[in-house]
Amino acid sequence: MDALQLLIGGVANGCIYGLVALGFVLIYKASEAVNFAQGDMLMFGAFLGIAFINEDRGDLPFLLGLVAASLCLGLIAYALDRFVLRAIFGQPQFAMVVLTIALGFVLRFVAGTIWGYDPVSLETPFAGEILSLGGLTLAVADLLIILATCGLTFVLWLFFGRTRLGVAMQASSQNQMAAYYMGIPVKRVNSIVWGLSGVVSAIAGVLFAAKGAVEPSVGLLFGIKAFAAAVIGGFGSLPGALLGGLLIGVIEQFAARYAPSGYSQIAPYALMLLVLILRPGGLFAQIAQKKV
């Protein structure tokens, strides 16, 4: 029973990791850039959610606030790509790494200046509510997070497989040049992907804030764990990212309970390093050798 309880808590945490990892993978799939500011985007989304929903601030209903926060962050992310990242279009991956790290710093500063550096949490209609099921006590927040994640993943899956824009994104990720020749506006597609990734991180951020307190520096470590999730999943694969997130979440919970203190924090990273060493392309690898 105890293990099952831990498992569900871990899965809920893992869902948030998975959502942030989805954000990574979205951007990576479209432009082969890794967004090191993804964790900070989650933080920003969480603060936006708090600003819209909490009673002493925007006082909007939860769902409305969630939509508003996602739209806001989506727009911000779109603008970031349109006005900052597009300036280095075509430069090597390395430039993008450095640029997004710096953008993360900026987001952190902006959030700290607007909302302060003290931890705040989100007021939700389901805060502290508990569902008893047999011997299990489940937080409603956890269940909602799991449900929301499943829903969002399904929508994204439909989007990539079924819509014109989704297919265009896939194409431009495979070969920007060829996609451009086929009439896909690669740069605009990139910006839209960033917007989409912003929306996903805002949702993840709001869900995160529903579970615990948020402060501006929370993004960095969270982002790195979400990285670990994306890497374990193989970076190119959406379900892989989600699965990687779940794995990280569950392992973290179990390590916190059973591993000696000090070792438990290492567990997610150790898992990632292990996966990288044993299967350099992640569990769902799409590795190929360069042709010469």
Partner: protein
């Protein structure tokens, strides 16, 4: 523009192209040696820190700039250098033996860690090293017998044949010691770049397949670059430990790793000069900001200390500007200005224009 006519192959092998260049560096070195007589003790301390950053920057430059492997975890190797140095000294070894030992130890650890990690390339390597940097924080607490756990380790005084070298007691001696190490590391680095080993690093950076076809053992080369890089970074870590006098698990956070990478980017990837330029920016930025703060408060009455974290923000904005407008860093900028000066007034506007292209996939390496 001066044209130098070469008469023997040795002129290309020499460190300095001609006597003018050698004289320039000699003057620079003389000024650096005389610095304690020229500036205040406080400023000297800041310059000492810059020198330590220079060593760390050169360590990372070998790897990121010349071998093309991104590491986001070099603070971890600074930590290993610092703790191992203090541990060796704690065993009764003099600093002169403990420092090279800790450099070798860090280098060997680096090379061993590198072997599995370096099978990864590009972004995966960056993430793996980032994870390494995070883990080190926890490991520093777990490995209490060697690292002092949460409390940390105090740096014992350094003794050279009866002379005490201490950051506060004898700041001049400590400064000269750091300067000497900077000169040594720079010489070694310059030697490396003019040799077959250095060229094999460049080869691995630019094209692994053709490096392999030309007989370069790519795996070994990467591990060597990683080991050398970590060894040098370890020296910086050891000096840093003596500079701040006490180190614990919080001395080498992820943020330091990131700062080191940003340092080499600001300075200019792929040049020794870049490491120095970057170290000056990273080391002196807090000072510059505090001067700016006093200035703003004195003149317009704006109190920017009300915005905590402003220094990282400014740093970030500098980086963003740099990546967008000057991808070759400060050194690239310096070269441009220099070329324009030499050609004056014949420089053309488009001379340094970059060609824009669509991204080549880096998934297939």
């Amino acid at each position: 523009m001066r044209v130098h006519f070469k008469r023997s192959y040795d002129e290309d092998i020499r460190l300095f192209e001609d006597w003018r260049r050698m004289a320039k560096y000699a003057v620079l070195l003389a000024i650096m040696i005389a610095l304690p007589a020229l500036v205040s003790g406080y400023f000297l301390g800041e310059v000492t820190l810059v020198l330590i950053y220079c060593i760390a920057g050169m360590g990372l430059m070998v790897l990121a700039g010349h071998t093309g492997q991104i590491s986001l975890g070099h603070a971890a190797f600074m930590a290993i250098g610092a703790f191992s140095n203090l541990w060796f000294m704690d065993q009764g070894m003099p600093f002169l033996i403990a420092l090279p030992l800790s450099a070798i130890f860090t280098g060997v650890v680096g090379a061993i860690v590198a072997l599995p990690i370096l099978r990864l390339s590009g972004i995966y390597l960056a993430i793996a090293t980032l994870a390494l940097s995070i883990i080190v924080e926890d490991i520093a607490i777990i490995a209490e017998p060697y690292t002092g756990g949460v409390v940390g380790v105090f740096a014992p005084p350094i003794e050279f044949f009866g002379t005490m070298v201490d950051r506060y007691g004898t700041p001049n001696l400590f400064y000269w010691m750091c300067l000497a190490l900077v000169v040594l590391v720079t010489l070694g680095y310059a030697n490396l770049l003019r040799s077959a080993t250095g060229r094999s690093f460049l080869a691995v950076r630019d094209s692994e397949v053709s490096a392999r076809a030309l007989g370069v053992n790519v795996t070994r080369t990467k591990a060597l670059a990683f080991g050398l890089s970590c060894g040098v970074t370890g020296i910086a870590g050891a000096l840093y430990a003596h500079f701040v006098q006490v180190v614990n698990y919080e001395s080498f956070l992820v943020l330091l790793s990131i700062n080191l990478l940003l340092l080499v980017v600001i300075g200019g990837l792929g040049s020794i000069h870049g490491a120095f330029f970057g170290a000056i920016v990273v080391g002196l930025l807090p000072q510059g900001l505090s001067i700016l703060r006093d200035f703003l408060q004195g003149t317009v009455g704006l109190d920017i200390s009300a915005y905590p974290g402003l220094d990282t923000m400014v740093f970030a904005v500098i980086i963003i500007g740099m990546v967008i407008y000057e991808p070759l860093g400060l050194y690239g900028f310096y070269m441009k200005v220099k070329t324009q000066w030499q050609l004056f007034p014949l420089a053309r506007r488009d001379m340094f224009r970059r060609s824009k292209s669509y991204l080549k996939t880096e998934r297939l390496r």
